[in-house]
């Protein structure tokens, strides 16, 4: 008999091992536990801890999900149940639009009342073409031109951010100035980092890139920025303005620190990366409005899963976490650039920064954030963008004929659209 018991114990253990031993957290009937999935630095941990004080009766089970967050979220969605109540999204939010029914429509929970407090273009990124709002804005990534004032000065270019913007208002003017800069500095310094970055930044300044709201491909339409961005990116490569250093690679870091790259267009969050990568250039950088207009890169969202038992409570917690005051706090602690308009007006934006020679870059990014055009990405945005970027890097690095590369890219894009 004891033998059988031991055997069945072994089997039972095995079954637990196989099923992953889901711990049934017995919840107190009065305390409502909300599970939150986010990644490091996407929300302020102190604010999350404060939720419990703010909402008595609610306990937050905040889980930092490391590694490939998107894959883990998708695996959970595919499995059906057992996911979190509140979940963070990055700018891949559009990929989840076809699965909008897996999330609560935040408009049903009262999101309309606070819509006016947020930047419209950012808010719209979380709304499906059918008008269901599945995700609420956390932060934004307005773009601007980062440049080395000392190198610009050596080349006889303006150094004051306003003058720089006046002289380099368009990409063409910016390239022309770059040519002058490279000649003046004896060819040791390049104007820009890489071809993909030029292409992506031009598209981020546009309101029409690959898809309209009905998911039709509009890349060949004259209103789309796709071909324009392609041509300008190719032009930058042909004018030899690119250092061909992959964005934020070790190569990029070294080039920035050694002063091999004089400028780049990037989002507000690249500030931190630049400061970490190029400590030797402290005080030499400035930020101006980007050539070609203002754009946005990235920025995250919060959503409520349909499996949640407490959508109302989750929404209240989200609303509080993302209110203008708390966005200001998160900006101060984590440099999360606000999506709430009131937070953009805060004094924190006027802080002078040593790395940027005492410039208050917040003022530039605030202006940029206010002027981003609302755009619809489409569910296959990143697939298409990957295809075009691959062809562009062939042009810049392996000398592929640009016309052939464009044809190849379009052919592959059309194939992709049929899948």
């Amino acid at each position: 008999m004891t033998k059988y018991r031991a055997l069945s114990m072994c089997l039972l253990l095995l079954v637990f091992m196989v099923t992953g031993c889901s711990s049934g957290s017995s919840s107190n009937s009065k305390v409502k536990t909300l599970t939150l999935w986010y990644w490091n630095r996407s929300l302020d941990d102190n604010l999350i801890n404060e939720v419990q004080k703010q909402f008595p009766g609610i306990r937050i089970n905040a889980q930092k999900i490391g590694g490939d967050f998107k894959s883990k979220l998708k695996t959970t969605l595919a499995a059906g149940g057992g996911g979190p109540d509140i979940v963070a999204f990055n700018d891949w939010v559009t990929e989840l639009f076809p699965s909008a029914d897996r999330f609560y429509n935040l408009y049903d929970l009262g999101a309309k009342d606070i819509e006016k407090d947020y930047l419209d273009w950012k808010w719209q990124l979380g709304v499906t073409p059918k008008g269901e709002m599945i995700a609420m804005p956390i932060d934004t990534g307005p773009t601007a031109l980062f440049y080395r004032a000392d190198l610009f000065k050596q080349a006889g270019l303006p150094t004051d951010p306003e003058e720089v913007h006046r002289m380099m208002g368009t990409w063409e003017d910016y390239f022309a100035a770059g040519e002058k800069l490279q000649k003046a500095l004896g060819g040791k310094v390049k104007l820009l980092d890489n071809i993909g970055q030029v292409y992506n930044q031009i598209n981020s300044q546009s309101d029409k890139v690959y898809f309209d709201k009905n998911e039709n491909f509009i890349g060949e339409d004259p209103s789309s920025s796709m071909k324009k961005a392609w041509d300008l990116a190719v032009k930058a490569s042909q004018m030899n303005l690119l250092a061909n250093a992959g964005t934020f690679s070790t190569e990029w870091n070294a080039a920035m620190n050694n002063g091999k790259i004089a400028s780049f267009v990037g989002a507000v969050w690249s500030k931190q990366i630049l400061m970490d990568a190029a400590p030797d250039t402290t005080g030499k950088w400035r930020v101006a409005r980007a050539p070609g207009g203002d754009g946005n890169n990235g920025g995250s969202f919060l959503a409520i899963m349909k499996t949640s038992k407490y959508p109302k409570e989750s929404f209240e917690v989200m609303k509080w976490l993302l209110n203008p005051d708390n966005q200001e706090t998160s900006f101060k602690t984590l440099n999360l650039f606000p999506s709430a308009t009131k937070a953009l007006d805060s004094d924190a934006m006027k802080n002078k920064e040593e790395f940027f020679g005492g410039q208050a870059t917040g003022e530039i990014f605030t202006e940029s954030a206010r002027n981003v055009k609302p755009s619809y990405f489409g569910t296959k945005y990143s697939n298409l963008n990957g295809i075009v970027n691959r062809e562009l890097s062939s042009v810049a690095l392996e000398g592929k004929n640009p016309d052939k590369a464009w044809k190849d890219a379009l052919a592959r894009v059309k194939k992709e659209l049929l899948r």
Binding site: L7, S71, A254, S382, G386, S393, L397, K400, R412, K415
Partner: protein, 320 residues
């Protein structure tokens, strides 16, 4: 082939009569030995859950269209059709084969030489060298890839520093197709040469010394006995290493992924089949298609293993 068949018929004359009884016997036999079966069941249960089910499910999935979240829809053979008409897939196949050739041939060659040296009587501290050569095999792949990425870094890498010391121009290794493939191949060689050397060493030690002694008496030179005794006797071991490195080589993923990213770097020079599979399934969310690529890869590996077997084994039959 004919020998065992004859034996079986001799032992089993009245097979048609015995079959039904035997079947009944099998069930009772299993029941009688249920404790033993229970004892070995953990492996089979785990295998069914983590091995068999994924294999069958991926077969099913390869005929579906699925983004990983939404509903699956039947897709017929479209996934397979897309695969054979996608130039990027064939590019991935080409890259994988190239990297496999660049890495396997020098790797097995060096491994054989190292094994021969480790087996030679004039080498001292043999255990130290054995461990030394094997050590790269137990290192973390990701860490190795990161180290190699700094070695091959375009402007500030170790290799370019050495080149610049000799007055040569730096080479943008990771901005060139061949550079990426070279870096990946060297990584594979570095990691696996010791492993294969140890296997060859075991093979060498199993060759009876009398053969060498007899050859010596007959006046054979060292080179002659290497090619006439060592290589033929090592043939099954060589076949084993060729097949394992084929399977490994066809599945190269971590090295290019860490070195040049999900797109396989410039012009997709490091885009291997598994990296392509990963990108299509987990980055572009075509899970059905990813499964189809997995099966495509299965067929490819089976084919190449067959060719290897023919080449290595077939050559042997002619010699003997």
């Amino acid at each position: 082939m004919s020998q065992p068949l004859q034996q079986r018929t001799q032992f089993d004359p009245g097979s048609s009569l015995q079959v039904p009884e035997r079947k009944r016997g099998l069930a009772t036999e299993i029941w009688k030995h249920r404790k033993q079966y229970l004892a070995i069941s953990p492996f089979y249960i785990l295998f069914a859950v983590f091995g068999l089910f994924p294999i069958l499910f991926s077969m099913y999935l390869s005929f579906q269209k699925w983004d990983g979240i939404g509903v699956m829809t039947f897709n017929g053979v479209n996934n397979y059709q897309f695969m054979v008409t996608d130039p990027e897939f064939w590019k991935a196949v080409g890259n994988t084969l190239l990297i496999w050739i660049y890495s396997t041939i020098p790797m097995l060659f060096f491994a054989l030489i190292i094994a021969f040296l480790l087996n030679a009587s004039f080498v001292r501290f043999r255990t130290f060298f054995r461990i030394g050569y094997f050590l790269p095999n137990v290192t973390s792949l990701v860490a190795v890839a990161i180290v190699f990425s700094t070695v091959f870094s375009n402007n500030y890498g170790l290799l370019n520093y050495i080149l610049s010391q000799f007055g040569a121009d730096p080479v943008e290794w990771l901005n060139k197709t061949w550079g990426i493939q070279l870096a990946v191949s060297i990584m594979v060689i570095w990691r696996w040469v010791g492993y294969n050397a140890i296997i060859y060493l075991a093979g060498l030690q199993s060759i009876p010394t009398v053969l060498y002694e007899a050859a010596k008496i007959d006046g054979a030179t060292g080179i002659q006995s290497f090619f006439r005794i060592t290589i033929p006797n090592l043939r099954p071991i060589i076949l084993f290493t060729v097949i394992t490195s084929t399977i490994g080589g066809m599945q190269i993923f971590t090295e290019p992924q860490v070195l040049v990213g999900n797109d396989g770097g410039v012009s997709g020079g490091g885009l291997t089949i598994v990296l392509y599979l990963y990108r299509e399934a987990f980055v572009n969310n075509y899970f059905g298609y990813g499964s189809a690529v997995g099966w495509g890869m299965f067929i490819l590996i089976a084919l190449i293993s067959l060719i290897n077997w023919r080449v290595v084994q077939g050559g042997g039959a002619k010699d003997e």
